[in-house]
């Protein structure tokens, strides 16, 4: 299996950064997931071969990290932080609003495959709570209006 040229390039440089091959595993898995949407069986086998590990060992690693997944999710990954700093500033209401507006529950993808909703642990935006991540983008100081705007905006963008 081959990855995109850019990723292949990245892999080739990264392996030179460490004394052992497997050290590239965690970031590489994340980058592969970014490219493929999820860590497929084929990708797991491929990376296992490359870093000289068994597929099992790679799976052991994947299942440890909460950002790594073996099944694809929606195009826009809404990760709402409900940890304490956000909780204090109404994160639960924000989360409920997203649920209602998207019509999905925690860890579910909308039927059109566009939105995935997930409640997550602290994302490091405590002083700008409540906050969320949309894919890798931080959206902070959330309000009900801001959420509406964000979702509507994305829906519109997709219709075009």
């Amino acid at each position: 299996m081959k990855f995109s040229d850019q990723l292949e390039q990245r892999f080739a440089t990264m392996v030179t950064h460490y004394p052992t091959k497997r050290s590239v595993l965690v970031p590489m898995l994340l980058y592969i997931q970014d490219e493929l949407g999820s860590l497929t069986e084929e990708a797991i086998h491929e990376i296992a071969q490359r870093v000289e590990l068994s597929d099992l060992e790679v799976r052991n690693v994947i299942s440890y990290y909460s950002m790594l997944r073996t099944r694809a999710v929606g195009k826009y990954n809404f990760q709402i932080c409900t940890n304490v700093s956000c909780l204090l500033r109404g994160a639960e209401d924000i989360f409920e609003q997203c649920k209602k507006k998207l019509g999905v529950g925690n860890k579910q993808t909308t039927s059109d495959g566009l939105f995935y909703l997930e409640e997550v642990e602290c994302i490091g935006a405590c002083s700008w709570a409540p906050a969320m991540m949309m894919n890798y983008e931080f959206v902070e100081n959330l309000t009900a209006a801001k959420i509406d705007e964000l979702i509507e905006g994305l829906k519109k963008k997709e219709q075009q």
Binding site: H17, L30, V61, L68, V84, L88, C122, A125, C126, S127
Partner: protein, 435 residues
């Protein structure tokens, strides 16, 4: 992207370049960048360590271990290569300061890592960023590439004959990986399970080589110490607590944000003056002064100096610098549940007390909060936490246990209000959260 705030009481050292475009290498150089490194290249390793010792810099990652002392534990001679590892896993709830440093002043971390490397004789440094900080990977990789391009990193840096490599490494979502030995496991491409200690990383670390692990803020402070002198830095704070610290103020405050204040700054002032006090209509109920793993203190305990030695006197700790202010509209059982849910989710699962203890605390709190609590639950919670404390494999277990003990001790009545089918007094309709 994160919003900058400022206050006249601030003493800007680590944050002095925030908002000034220092991500650009040229701009960084204009703002005294890499001068400390060049100075360090002229110093003996012991002199660097002594300067850091003199600064009374204590680890900003949470435990507050004196940084200079840590460096001095690294053996001078080692058959295996030595490493410096920057801990940018920042995941402690309530903490969002390292992110600002990476975002606004990436080169200061690089420079700090390099000085640490010179001090201990390492040839390679790694900067580990939590997976969620993906945008920072780009920023840091660019900063590293720029510095390589100028010959600041790599072979024969600044013509000194010294070779030094710096690499950026991304995590993929795991709080426990912030624990130093789990961090090394993760960097080595493994599950983030902590290692048995001793030996400590300074002796046996990455790939078996001696390794210095420091928090990003600790390392970003180092260039300033080298340039300004350890004594100057020490004087900014209180005795034994040198320098300034980035405090992350969160909760229902008028002006939440990250402020750089001298060590030992008064907490009450921090809340009511620096952060503008509680938002209108809300009253202070308690403060968690050092990230979610430390003990809560009550409003009558907040007249206290924010340093590693004063907070223990009111039964809490300085921790990671995340000051979480709890208002009177918040249910403390709910708060306890959310904290416990975090530790249950983030426990690596290696040892029995943490793995099983957090799970049962969470189950108990979910039930209590949704109205199913019975009288013995409160003591059970405390019993669970007390039996985790000091008995787990790594400090995460303590981090999960300490807050719960303090909540029950200081806010027992709130727990009692949830017993025997009583709905949560703070909620319109009580409902359990994510399971």
């Amino acid at each position: 992207m994160a919003y900058l705030v400022s206050h006249p009481d601030e003493v800007k050292v680590v944050s002095k370049r925030f908002g000034k475009g220092a991500t650009s290498l040229d701009r960084y150089l204009e703002l005294d960048g890499y001068k400390a490194l060049q100075k360090a290249l002229t110093m003996q390793p012991d002199a660097i360590i002594n300067e850091v010792k003199a600064s009374n810099l204590r680890g900003r990652g949470g435990a507050g271990f004196p940084t200079g002392m840590k460096w001095s534990f690294v053996p001078k001679q080692s058959p295996k290569p030595k490493y410096v590892l920057c801990n940018g896993d920042e995941s402690e709830p309530g903490t969002c300061k390292d992110r600002l440093i990476f975002e606004h002043d990436p080169h200061s971390v690089i420079e700090g890592v390099m000085i640490a490397a010179l001090a201990v004789g390492a040839k390679t440094g790694y900067i580990y960023l939590r997976g969620e900080y993906r945008y920072l990977v780009q920023i840091m990789e660019k900063a590293v590439a720029d510095a390589y391009a100028r010959g600041f990193i790599g072979k024969n840096i600044f013509g000194s004959g010294v070779d030094l490599d710096i690499f950026v490494h991304s995590g993929a979502g795991a709080y426990e990986v912030g624990e130093e030995s789990a961090l090394m496991e993760s960097l080595e491409g493994k599950r983030g399970i902590p290692r048995i200690r001793p030996p400590f990383p300074a002796v046996v670390g990455l790939w078996g080589g001696p390794t210095v692990i420091n928090n990003a803020e600790s390392l970003a402070s180092v260039p300033h110490i080298i340039l300004g002198g350890g004594e100057w830095f020490a004087k900014l704070g209180t005795p034994k607590n040198g320098g300034t610290r980035l405090f992350c103020m969160s909760g229902e405050l008028e002006r939440p944000g990250v402020y750089e204040l001298p060590m030992g700054y008064n907490l009450k002032k921090m809340i009511y003056d620096v952060a503008g006090g509680m938002v209108k209509g809300k009253k202070l109920k308690g403060v968690v002064p050092g990230g979610s793993s430390v003990q809560i203190i009550t409003p009558d305990e907040i007249d206290v100096a924010m340093d590693f030695d004063s907070l223990p006197k009111v039964g809490s700790m300085l921790g990671s610098g995340g000051v979480i202010v709890i208002d009177d509209h918040t249910c403390l059982v709910k708060f306890a549940l959310r904290v416990t849910q975090f530790y249950q989710h983030e426990s690596c699962g290696w040892c029995i007390p943490c793995r099983e203890g957090t799970d049962w605390m969470k189950k108990t709190l979910v039930r209590m909060h949704s109205g199913g609590g019975v009288a013995k639950d409160i003591d059970n919670l405390k019993y669970l936490a007390e039996n985790m404390l000091g008995r787990t494999f790594c400090p995460l277990g303590d981090a999960a246990a300490m807050p719960i003990i303090s909540y029950v001790q200081k806010f027992r009545s709130e727990f009692e209000d949830h017993l025997n089918g009583k709905p949560c007094p703070y909620e319109k309709a009580a409902q359990p959260v994510m399971v």
